[in-house]
């Protein structure tokens, strides 16, 4: 299996700043969105993205093409970091964590309505069990293939489909009153 990032990782590991920049531009936004959807918290999502890249830079000089694609490995690391943070939240019962509000700076009514819809979707996602949320974040929002998403979640494709079906069913129930584009 050819890893499209293999050459970039090797170059970044050897100190090639341009290769590092390309990896960041390609993967940081995806990782950030994934963490944001998992944690529903912009600051924590940035922390997770940074933690993933610290591991990437540490691993880059020794990276070898193997079973998992580099991107799959990064998704797996990001998800595990998210699971850790969600577990700590449950242990500390922090009511303020994971409760991003619509950005008031957007101001206009239209933007506010869009932000409120987005907040509804995020709240519905936040209510899903972690694994269902991760499956939907990867397959629906990041458009990862079923094989890549199953590898990132370390489950079979059948198990992934089960998570996706149950997750989408719960979301449909939670968002039944949401009119698209309203």
């Amino acid at each position: 299996m050819h890893d499209p990032d293999a050459a970039l990782i090797k170059a970044a590991g050897a100190g090639d700043a341009r290769a590092a920049q390309t990896l960041i531009a390609k993967h940081a936004p995806r990782l950030h969105r994934l963490a944001r959807r998992m944690l529903n918290d912009a600051m924590e999502a940035e922390d997770v993205t940074q933690d993933v890249f610290l591991r990437v830079w540490k691993q880059a000089p020794r990276w070898r093409e193997g079973e998992a694609k580099f991107e799959t490995w990064m998704h797996r690391v990001a998800l595990n970091l998210c699971y850790d943070r969600l577990r700590k939240r449950r242990e500390t019962l922090d009511p303020a964590a994971g409760a991003d509000l619509p950005d008031p700076a957007r101001g206009a009514d239209e933007a506010l309505a869009a932000a409120q819809q987005a907040a509804r979707v995020r709240a519905a996602l936040a209510q899903l069990p972690e694994r269902q949320r991760a499956a939907i974040a990867l397959c629906h929002f990041e458009e990862a293939s079923n094989i890549e998403a199953a590898a990132a979640l370390e489950i079979s494709v059948d198990a992934l489909e089960s998570l996706l079906s149950r997750g989408r069913r719960a979301l449909r129930a939670a968002l039944a009153d949401l009119k698209p584009g309203a």
Binding site: G15, D16, A17, H140, F141, E161
Partner: protein, 124 residues
């Protein structure tokens, strides 16, 4: 592929063929074109549209700069050569300085013995 599998695909992956399993893509499209799965397709479209409201903002510029700053840096041959030159210079200067010092003499031995408790006690 049968209609049941088509419904499973729509319920798991949604209405957009770009998210469907690559190896079942063509068969699912053909079955849909033949009129199967219409209800599941409509339901999937509604949920896909609702989910599209979740537009997550891009990571901050500050984060992107922090990631870049933490990336591995190559050690240039000039920096490596300068470091090696400093080490050699330090060795040369240290060795030369030590050679200029006077060798220990009898006075040093007496001075050292004055602070040697065992020697003092033995002398009583």
């Amino acid at each position: 592929m049968n209609a049941e599998r088509l419904t499973e695909i729509l319920e798991a992956y949604g209405a957009d063929p770009k998210r469907w399993p690559a190896d079942e893509h063509a068969a699912a499209e053909a079955l849909l074109a033949a009129g199967a799965g219409a209800e599941a397709l409509a339901e999937a479209r509604v949920l896909d549209a609702a989910l599209s409201a979740d537009d997550v903002s891009a990571p901050s510029e500050l984060l992107m700069r922090r990631l870049q700053r933490a990336a591995p840096r190559a050690v240039s041959w000039r920096a490596a050569a300068a470091l090696a030159a400093c080490a050699v210079l330090g060795l040369v200067l240290g060795y030369g300085g030590a050679m200029r010092l006077a060798p220990p003499d009898a006075a040093d031995a007496v001075f050292s013995a004055a602070f040697d408790i065992d020697a003092l006690e033995g002398g009583r």
